[in-house]
Every structure is written in structure tokens, then in C-alpha cells.
């Protein structure tokens, strides 16, 4: 076993101490196993599925492909940081539920992060833009139609 390292991560507006960690740990592992933030899901560990998507300095990335110790100083936002409170849902999350975009639910946190990022930068995307924005998030239940409907519903409700 190689030497262990200590560092601090800035996640959802809070400084977290990471102590006695192996240097090769991914951000996903540290979020789930050390910081008690299991919203980001662990599936492929190779950037294929997008279920571990988080925002790092305002950009959506797969947390499984970020070396946690390299994220020191970065502003990290997980799906937990996107809802207004622990019991409250963001409008995107509420739309996913209302439109039936959640079936097994495993892909949902990653999709919520990707859709949040899309609508922050492009409040009125075309369907093609939505499809491209969520192309890195695999869902094996819904066939994506209900997810697209949830994005459209969020778009429409935000425009009032």
C-alpha cells in the first residue's frame, strides 16, 4: 500500500477534510465513501454512463474520471447541491417525477446534473441540443422520451 494523503475539497459550498486517502481515489469514490454524498452513482467507472456527473468549476464532468486529489481548489457541485433543501426538489427533479422520467432512478441524478448544466447555459434548447447535452447519460429504462418531456416541461415552466 502506498502512502496516504490528506487534502481538502470544496463541495456544495462546504470545505471537507479528506484524511488518509489513497492518492488514486476518484472524486466519485471520495464523494460517496468519504463525504457521505451518495447522490452521484457508481456504475461504469469509465465515463460511459454519466451517472456520476457533477459540476466542477461550473462544467459537467464524470466524477469517476476526476482524480479527487487533483480537484483541490475546485468548486464542486453534486446533485445534492442542486436541490433547495434535503427534502425539497429542484424544478428539474420535480419535472422528472411528474413526466415519468424516473423509472429505476439510477441514471436520474446524473441526468439532473446534465440538464441543470444545459439549462444554465442555454435556457431554450432545441430537442437536438437536449439530446446532445444528455448524450453522455445512459438510461436503460425510459427510452429517453419521458426525460425529453421533463426537460421540455422545465423549459416551459421557467419561461412562465
Amino acid at each position: 500500500m502506498s502512502e496516504l494523503i490528506n487534502y481538502r475539497l470544496h463541495v456544495n459550498g462546504v470545505e471537507h477534510e479528506v484524511a488518509d486517502a489513497w492518492l488514486g481515489e476518484s472524486l466519485l469514490y471520495v464523494l460517496r465513501e468519504r463525504l457521505g454524498l451518495p447522490g452521484s452513482k457508481n456504475a461504469c467507472l469509465q465515463g460511459e454512463c454519466g451517472s456520476c456527473s457533477v459540476l466542477m468549476d461550473g462544467k459537467v464532468v464524470c466524477s469517476c474520471m476526476v482524480l479527487a486529489a487533483s480537484a483541490v481548489g475546485a468548486d464542486i457541485v453534486t446533485v445534492e447541491g442542486l436541490s433547495p433543501g434535503e427534502q425539497d426538489l429542484s424544478d428539474i427533479q420535480a419535472a422528472f417525477l411528474a413526466e415519468g422520467g424516473v423509472q429505476c432512478g439510477f441514471c436520474t441524478p446524473g441526468l439532473v446534473v446534465s440538464v441543470h448544466d444545459l439549462l444554465e447555459h442555454n435556457p431554450d434548447p432545441t430537442e437536438l441540443e437536449v439530446r446532445e447535452a444528455i448524450s453522455g447519460n445512459l438510461c436503460r429504462c425510459t427510452g429517453y422520451g419521458r426525460i425529453l418531456a421533463a426537460v421540455r416541461a422545465t423549459q416551459e415552466s421557467r419561461q412562465g
Partner: protein, 291 residues
Amino acid sequence: MLVFLPDSLDEAFEAFEQCPDAQLLAGGTDFMVEVNYAHRRPPSVVCLRKVGELCGWRRDGAEVVLGAGMTFTELMDPRLSDLLPGLAQASRTVGSPQIRNAGTLGGNLGTASPAGDSLPVLSALDATIVVASRHGRRSLQLDELVVGPKRTTLEPGEIIVEIRAPAQMGSQEFLKVGTRNAMVIAVANVALVVDWAGQSVRCALGSVGPVVIRARAAEQFISSRIDWTTRTLPDESAAAEFADLVRAAARPIDDHRSTADYRRHAVGVCSFRALRRILANHRDDTLGRAS
């Protein structure tokens, strides 16, 4: 210290002095797959994420100078895609938004995968790759840097720092074949540049050999058939012959992603389409200007 997060190249070189066996980490999209699957167990890591000199791009006369730390998302920026359209097209085919936000041009070069999407474009543009260490800098062409599958001529302690490519060179196309549009590692890819001013055609093939292949015979053949004054291809059958020569230049293998036969076929189709697209777009542009 085992994980270095230098702000400058000098600090990065210093980290290598302290830990000569340290491994370089750019965007992590290849590196972390190997770590996650226990194929790589780095004793120490030099992370390039915050190295200022590797960020951003600038014009230098007729060239664009790209920082090796630029992500594929940044390479798609409209201000840059006007100058390097083929590279922007290739970047958009890489992975997904998540991968494009993390993966870097320098990382693509350093990984030296035969399927790296930026590599055929850089080859077709005869781009120069600048690598640096504390001992100095040297400039390389792609085929001098990438010498085999995942093999480069980078010396220990050397870092890819910038990529220099001609701005707005002629017309450019990048085409890629895979099993779907997103999240796909190329089964075959082709970069084609028709340099109207220089009266040359450059065609580079990826995923059909151990390294990127320039289809020189095909390039010379089609260059001799293009009417450079009218910028047209008078004998349209020459496009098919060009594609045949591209196919002949490929040296593909069978693997888990595709077969050699299919790959050879695919580079022919891609190069044919790329040439037709460039000629058609150019004709439309000319008509647009005339009307």
C-alpha cells in the same frame, strides 16, 4: 508529497525533480479508467489542470497556438472553430459533454491511442507539437511524437505544452465511424484538408493502423485532378479513385471494435464523402458570392 498540483510549468518540472517516477495527469479521461480498473497504480502524480501556460490559445502570425491543456469543449468555441474547423469537428465527436469538458488536446496526444480523434486533424495540418522539460523545448511533427499504439517519444520529465497549426487552411472535413453518434471510440476516422492556396490535398486516417496514416498516394493523385483555377473536380470519377487509394493506404486490424475489412471500407467511404462535401460546399460558397 505524492500528488502535485502545480500552477506553472516550472513548478511541474520541479515536481518531476522531486519525484522522477511521477505520472502526468491531464484531463483524466484515459488515466482514471486505468486507475479505476487497477491497471495503473501511480506512485505519484503531477496534475496539469492548473498549469497556466497550458491554458487557452493565441494567434501567432499565420499560426494558431493551442495550449496543450485546452479541452475538446474549448476547441469547439466558435472563435477558434473558424480558424481550425477540422479540429472543432473532430472535438465534437469526442465522447460526451462530460468527456469533452475534461479531456484535453495534450492528453489525446500523450495517450497516443490509434483512435485519438484529434490526431488525424493535426497530421493533415502538419501541426507542430512543442514539448518542454527543465532542459528546454523541442518541436515535433505528429509522426515524430507518436510512434506506436500508446507509444510516444516523450522523455521522462517532458510535457506536451503547445500545438501550433496553420490558421484557416483551405477547406477541412473530419468524418468518423462508430456504433453511435455520441460516446464512441472511432472505428475509423478521416481528416481531409484541401489547401486551395497551397494547391495541395492532405488526407490523414485514424484507427486503421498503429499510428495515424497519411494517404500520400491518394493525396497526390487527387491534387493532380483538381482544377485549382476553378476549384472543381472536372472528372467526378476521380473521387472514387481517390477513395480506392485511401483504402489501399490503410493498414487496419481486426479487434473487439471492428474488423479490418470494415475499417478499410469505412475510410474509403469517409474520404470520398469528405472530398465531395468540400467540393460541394466550395461550389455553394462560390455561387453564394456570385448571386
